[in-house]
Every structure is written in structure tokens, then in C-alpha cells.
């Protein structure tokens, strides 16, 4: 991951999608290295689903270009074989049993690893003879994930996979997801409006609001560049020119700023403190463009 030249498994350049004259996503430029786990974060309606649908070839791009697993997203079987997708709410055919779904996947996919899917579902204690409509939310998510993983995709895209899961089911889901990522080296991109688990789950972060990417990059880099600065107002007003102020709170005798700075601030009259990831994401989401 730390090597300078990593091939991007997901690359977009000024990509966007327009519904009539409404731009759901605009000028989206990203480069996500192979093997990375990226969280796409933003409020509902921000453009997360649009981005994922563009990446998986379900929507055509209205501007710019995209490359996923080395190819332009499309509905070609060659492309679809390399990409796994778990849609929002993990839709499954309700009348099918889990075993039926596995057989169906086998018939539809050339590189299907049915044994892997079955083992995973047994490990997650999902009853294979149960109809999909009768599974719990956590079980449904495990089935949707197992089906996507059985394709052995190079890139796995997941739309809000955690949203409807309770904390226990969420942790089980993440164990399966990250365990598979570790075993196969696949690239993972998942959207989420929950920020809580992200620091342990992802290594790259994309923050979207109103159809625009507000922040994108490697998580370690993002955390090291952002800091809370407190001090007397006359001191906090005199930060170096390349320090970007994201939010400020004024108190009676001191001011606290959340800033993005390319290097550590050395002014002894200021105290600095690390910033909570959740706070940082919220600062970008609350900020007017």
C-alpha cells in the first residue's frame, strides 16, 4: 500500500451523471489503488448510489470517464465477471431458498466458487434451505455478500451494506468482508452514512455531498493533515496562508479551529489536538462549498 506506484483498480476523471437537468454527481475524480478498502460517505441523496451505479455500469456517465478493474464499466459479460455488486437493502428473490440462489449463481457465472459461498454461509449459520424472504436482515446481508464473493470479483462494490444491520450483524458482516479482502486482495468500495466503524474498516475515504466530492484520499494522510487548533483569537487569526480553516468555534477567551494543514503547526501560542474522524467528516458535510 505504501509503494509509490500502485495500479488504480477504480479510476474516475471528471465523471458525472445527469437526470434531466439535475446533476446527481459532477466532476468526480478518484483513484483507488488495487487492494484498497474505500468508504464513500455522505448523507442520503448525496450521490453515493449514483457513483456506485456508474462504477458497476448500471448507469451511463454523462461526463468524464471511468475505469474499473482496467475497463470502462458496461454490461458486457467480461466486465461483469470482474465486478461484484451488493445493492442497497440486499435484494434477493424472496421465493428462492438460499440453496436455489447458489445454484442460480452457479448457472449464471463462469468463475463461480460455490464451495466458498456455501462454506461462508454455513460459517455464518445461515440455513441453506430457508427461503430468502424469511431470512433476518443480517442473514440476507450475509447471503448477498456470499453471492457477490462467489464470483471472485476483482472489485467489489457495496451500496449501504451496513445500514439496516444491528451492531452484531454489522460486525459479522465486516468480518466476512474484510477476511475475504485479506484472502483475495480484491478492491472494496462501500458506501455508508454511518461513520462509526469506518476507521477500522477502510483505508481510503471519499466524502460526497450534493453530488460533489468534498474530500478524497488515504485515511492515514487525511488524519495526519487535519488538526484542532485552539488559542487566543489574535493567534488563531494568523495561521500560515496554506492552512485551510474548515470550521471555527469562538469561546469567551479562545477560539478553536478545525484546519487542514500540509505540515505540523509550530506556533507555541497554539495548542493542537487530533481530530475525531466522525467530527472531521461532519465538518466537510456541513461546510458550504
Amino acid at each position: 500500500m505504501s509503494t509509490a506506484v500502485t495500479t488504480a483498480a477504480v479510476e474516475t476523471a471528471g465523471a458525472g451523471h445527469r437526470y434531466g437537468d439535475f446533476w446527481a454527481l459532477r466532476e468526480c475524480t478518484l483513484a483507488l489503488p488495487a487492494g484498497s478498502v474505500t468508504a464513500v460517505v455522505g448523507p442520503n441523496g448525496a450521490g453515493k448510489t449514483t457513483l456506485l451505479n456508474l462504477l458497476v455500469g448500471l448507469l451511463p456517465s454523462s461526463e468524464g470517464s471511468l475505469k474499473v478493474a482496467g475497463e470502462q464499466p458496461s454490461t458486457e459479460p467480461d466486465f461483469l465477471a470482474r465486478v461484484g455488486f451488493v445493492a442497497q437493502d440486499c435484494p434477493l428473490y424472496k421465493e428462492f431458498s438460499v440453496a436455489d440462489l447458489l445454484r442460480f449463481g452457479q448457472a449464471m457465472n463462469p468463475n463461480w466458487d460455490g464451495e466458498l459461498a456455501r462454506d461462508r454461509l454455513l460459517a455464518a449459520e445461515v440455513p441453506l434451505d430457508r427461503r430468502a424472504g424469511r431470512l433476518s436482515g443480517g442473514q440476507r446481508a450475509q447471503v448477498a455478500l456470499a453471492l457477490a464473493l462467489a464470483k471472485r470479483p476483482q472489485v467489489l462494490l457495496l451500496d449501504e451494506p451496513l445500514a439496516s444491520l444491528d451492531p452484531l450483524a454489522r460486525r459479522d458482516f465486516l468480518k466476512t468482508l474484510l477476511g475475504s479482502a485479506a484472502a483475495t486482495g480484491m478492491t472494496v468500495v462501500m458506501s455508508s452514512h454511518l461513520v462509526g466503524d469506518l476507521a477500522r474498516v477502510c483505508d481510503h475515504l471519499v466524502v460526497i455531498r450534493d453530488g460533489r466530492v468534498r474530500l478524497a484520499g488515504e485515511l492515514d494522510q487525511i488524519l495526519s493533515e487535519h488538526v484542532l487548533v485552539s488559542g487566543a483569537p489574535d493567534q488563531t487569526a494568523r495561521l500560515p496562508g496554506d492552512v485551510q480553516v474548515l470550521s471555527e468555534t469562538h469561546h469567551e477567551r479562545h477560539t478553536t479551529l478545525l484546519v487542514r494543514t500540509p505540515r505540523p503547526l509550530l506556533n507555541p501560542a497554539l495548542t493542537t489536538a487530533p481530530v475525531d474522524l466522525e467530527e472531521l467528516v461532519l465538518a466537510y458535510l456541513e461546510r458550504p462549498r
Partner: protein, 130 residues
């Protein structure tokens, strides 16, 4: 197995948190030379931590000479950070427990206790330098 944790609110990069936790285990003697660290896959699958984070932490520990990666075999502790024997560590923590009890009896809360410890350590360091 080591139970790695990643705290969202620490502001510290996740890999650095894992490095810290391994170093702490080395200092406290929980990990000894020759011990095998859990594989990246084991950590990801059992405690749901990003595999790249664990990989990066192990690489950093290897650069620091604390662990060695043996291809195909795993990552092993190369060196201890324990500054004392288990017996004297146990003695020190028993004395500290008595001191903490005295501090509580004097009306200090946890933050108050940490303030005294940190201020005293700073003063001791300043005396060492002088």
C-alpha cells in the same frame, strides 16, 4: 490472540494504533521473542480490522526491528521491549495500586491522578536533564 482495537476518536492513524498495541504487549511481556503474531487474514476475519492497516503496522514493526516476517510462515516477535522482569513489574503495579488508593482517598478522580503522574514525570525529567 491479541485483541487489536481501532479507536475512531483517537485521531491517530489506525495502523499507528495497532503498532502501539503491539509495543504495549511487548513492554508488558504479553508477547515474548519467538511468539507468532496473528496473520493479517486472521485479524481481518476475527476482529474486522482493515487488512491493509494491519499489514502497514506489521511493516512498521519490522522496520523497527521488533518483529520479523518469514514468508509463508508468518510474523514473529524478534525482540522484547520488556524493561524489567515479570516479578518486578508485578511488584511495581502493586505499589502503584496502593498509591492510587491513597490518591482516591485524598479525593482525586482519574483525571486528577493522571495530572499528578504527568506533572511529576515532567518534573523528574527536568531534574534528570539539569
Amino acid at each position: 490472540m491479541l485483541d487489536f482495537r481501532v479507536d475512531t476518536s483517537s485521531g491517530l492513524a489506525p495502523y499507528a494504533q495497532v503498532v502501539q498495541q503491539v509495543k504495549q504487549a511487548l513492554r508488558l511481556g504479553w508477547l515474548q521473542p519467538g511468539d507468532k503474531l496473528p496473520t493479517v487474514h486472521e485479524v481481518a476475519a476475527s476482529v474486522a480490522i482493515n487488512p491493509n492497516t494491519v499489514q502497514k503496522a506489521y511493516k512498521e514493526l519490522e522496520l523497527a526491528g521488533l518483529v520479523v516476517g518469514r514468508p509463508g510462515a508468518g510474523t514473529f516477535v524478534a525482540r522484547s521491549l520488556s524493561q524489567s522482569t515479570p516479578a518486578s513489574l508485578a511488584l511495581l503495579s502493586r505499589r502503584l495500586e496502593r498509591w492510587i488508593a491513597a490518591a482516591r482517598a485524598a479525593g482525586l478522580d482519574d483525571d486528577g491522578i493522571m495530572d499528578v503522574v504527568q506533572a511529576t514525570m515532567r518534573r523528574a525529567q527536568a531534574q534528570d536533564i539539569a
